[in-house]
Symmetry: C2
Amino acid sequence: MDKQVRLVTQSPSAYSYPLLLKQLLHTPIIYNPDQEIVYRDSLRYTYKDLYARINRLASALTSMGVKPGDTVAVLDWDSHRYLESFFAIPMIGAVLHTVNIRLSPEQILFTMNHAEDKVVLVHEDFLPIIDAIRPHLKTVETYILLKEGPEKPATSVPLAAEYEEMLTQAVDSFDFPEFDENAKATTFYTTGTTGDPKGVYYSHRQLVLHTLGMAISLSGFSGPGRFQSADIYMPITPMFHVHAWGVPFVATVLGAKHVYPGRYEPAMLLKLLQTEKVTFSHCVPTILHMILTSPAAKDVDLNGWKVIIGGSALPRGLAKLALERGIQIYTGYGMSETCPLLTLATVQSHMVDWDMERQLDIRTKTGLPVPLVNIRVQDVVSEKEVPKDGRTPGEIVVRAPWLTQGYFKEPEKSEELWGGGWLHTGDIANVDPSGYLQITDRLKDVIKTGGEWISSLYLESLISQHEAVSEVAVVGIPDEKWGERPLAMVVPKPDFKDTLSGDSLKSFLQKFVDDGSVSKWGIPDNFVIVDQIPKTSVGKLDKKVIKKRVAEGIK
Amino acid sequence: MDKQVRLVTQSPSAYSYPLLLKQLLHTPIIYNPDQEIVYRDSLRYTYKDLYARINRLASALTSMGVKPGDTVAVLDWDSHRYLESFFAIPMIGAVLHTVNIRLSPEQILFTMNHAEDKVVLVHEDFLPIIDAIRPHLKTVETYILLKEGPEKPATSVPLAAEYEEMLTQAVDSFDFPEFDENAKATTFYTTGTTGDPKGVYYSHRQLVLHTLGMAISLSGFSGPGRFQSADIYMPITPMFHVHAWGVPFVATVLGAKHVYPGRYEPAMLLKLLQTEKVTFSHCVPTILHMILTSPAAKDVDLNGWKVIIGGSALPRGLAKLALERGIQIYTGYGMSETCPLLTLATVQSHMVDWDMERQLDIRTKTGLPVPLVNIRVQDVVSEKEVPKDGRTPGEIVVRAPWLTQGYFKEPEKSEELWGGGWLHTGDIANVDPSGYLQITDRLKDVIKTGGEWISSLYLESLISQHEAVSEVAVVGIPDEKWGERPLAMVVPKPDFKDTLSGDSLKSFLQKFVDDGSVSKWGIPDNFVIVDQIPKTSVGKLDKKVIKKRVAEGIK
């Protein structure tokens, strides 16, 4: 694909109907024209307005010279503007580059040059970054300002327009073209543990099919936690991160109310949860942890809030905390390379009456595959499917209609991702007799000690159950005798800041050795008590940095 | 397409993932292996068994010489065998011909020759038909018997195998090939008002997308009447009729329990409703009418049963009768040429507390478009979209990913179906401000009297509200002075068999003239009281036959 977006202005025949993002808008605009889109406490408008604004944005960009195949970058907090860009930019045949604003300026520069961004929509908060890297941006021709208040920010970035003014001046109807459903619609960058960020990209067909598959998975399976049209949706996963996991597209096709929180501040998030009566969200564990432990959370009724946790495994301790607040919490699993959704830890209707511990077992599982997804857990060496016994580990490999075709301009890395027709996730998991997957580790994070494989994730879930533990990360550190030995980095809860010790953790873990849950070689030798654990730009534990710090002698 | 099914044994590239029916089976077999499939009161097995039997059927047919592109016909009542055929036959790349067993032997012969059936799976009840037409079947090479009991039926049809024996002898694993998603998967024949039956056909891609769109429409919209995984599904629409409207595919991808009733007998249907605790069905109005008015229905609790009515408009009287029994009844709309689903009269959660009359208004509407469907109601002459005022009539034209590409070997008739890139349904409708469509008539059934257009469907709905009326059909009959005049054919309820008169109906209708619901020219001059109204093979009012009978002087 790359730059060769094939465009035809007419269908090849009367009956052909390529899958294009514009089709997701056909029905909600008809049957729910007055449904609301809310941005923080500063703006609310209707689906009818959304559709008019998508048309205006398309008109404005086109009149600025944006053509099918061009790439348009967005640097913004989570907003209605981002939602408009999700549709308008791909719908004119251009490619939306959702820039990861948490990367370093050098990495942002790399991604914008690599993606060949032509037009940039930039929020005033990120003007300093753009200003700093601007001399090195090779392909950008136009900058458009996104801003909150009436004031124009002081900047030397040459701004061609301001978003709201531009929309006001544009016409509110645009004749969106028909084109090949395999045309590239979006791109963004994933930061691996080594090397430069890699560009992932998705076509209209893939995004439409992901929306349909996810919608069925979220709404079609009886039980709590379902997402349906009467829900009120607020993403707390950045919109630059795999299109906020694609859920804004699902919310739109269902005609649900959207609430966008802008920058993530616990007070604003809690306020929106209350005032807008949000019922459905998704986030990484650290964000939910931040919300639940913020002082203001005590006074907010969170009962019935449905939250999907992804990005990292859902720690059992956090799941328990959420369940005790009445939150319908469960896990979703996927990767940047998989659009992302592959599985959901669906709580089925017959499980509703299960006791807390069994509920936690299900809700913290990796989940059941989403319709159309073909998942295999296979032995790393023999590539044979492992038995569904809830124990035998293997690598998750997958086929689905929405897997990235590879990394942009990186054919060699793309080949590493695919093997034998399957995308290799690098995740180690088992499958229980009911079909639920359970990831036990990343292939690269498994700790190999004295010939035994110890799961760092499993150790983290055990340690997280200690009453004094707020957060934990386990890594393997080089050991001359055993190859590797586990080390745990632990953040204590505020009340235990001065009292938590490695010895108390060690003796806490002994009971899991006694009951056979873990071998005695699995108990870490070292516990490092810290104020915070290094995280990646999307809030995951950054094990690369942790290992580096340990090597530098943090303990 | 026709016979040129393009097949490739390998994906064109590692990441390609053509949409094929086999993918609908990936997830339910994993997460609901023990879910049940029930056939009448004679058989029940699990999804795991279903999958094994699909594999066996594919193995058996292949070893009999069925090749990709060949057509395999099925003549059966609604059964687990039919469900197996829905998957196994297309999954080997062959084409499933679902033969309409209610057609005349001559028409069946025509369709089987026209579709070029090579292998025929025939239920013992239909052996006499096959025996009679066999000398004229030009392409059939193999007959396979489907039967209920242990006895072999006496027949001179040369049977190559018996279904159950054949499955027992076949291996239970089959390597289902990958091929072009546009490969033809199914075909069946639609009987128009004139000429021979016309062959409609659907590809794997179309059936998969229809399944996804329908699943979201059925499960994603909050309110009563939703279809989710915990529902128990029993179709009461023949499986030869547009794949029982495609719902068996939806039920399968959701992993719901299926119940197949075989031949439609009220006693068996009511028994299965009770013993299997059926919660979700769909049928034409006449079937529900037959069930609700059968003597045994009085003793059966039908509360909570969800029923979609399609094939014909849902009469308000029948809807009321159903609602009074606690049945969540609403309308679905589509055609043989549209796979079929286009709209559903979804009762949204904010409508649940509406009173009976407002509920009836919504439930008897034609409905809201299904996700991805692009519907336009346009003036017949100017082709401009009509205003959403709930009054102005226009023709429904549609684009969607699952519209038939035309009629098999009938390029001229195919061209009539499509115009300006839209499929023309021939249905006249209006759209209300909430987006709900309401069909008022067939373009060809509108009665043109004295320069005025009178809707035959609307008159039927008014007359059906008379306490003595069981069923009604209104047609236009030629009139020298006015062009056409409406005539109503009425079946009285049993208690009013001897008392219902045309005069009482005429004076009943006067109140609708008085309140402006209908013009005085709209009141039929003639009312014909009959024991039954002629129906088509799929249970619709057969207005062609009614007009013919009237012309022959029935009154």
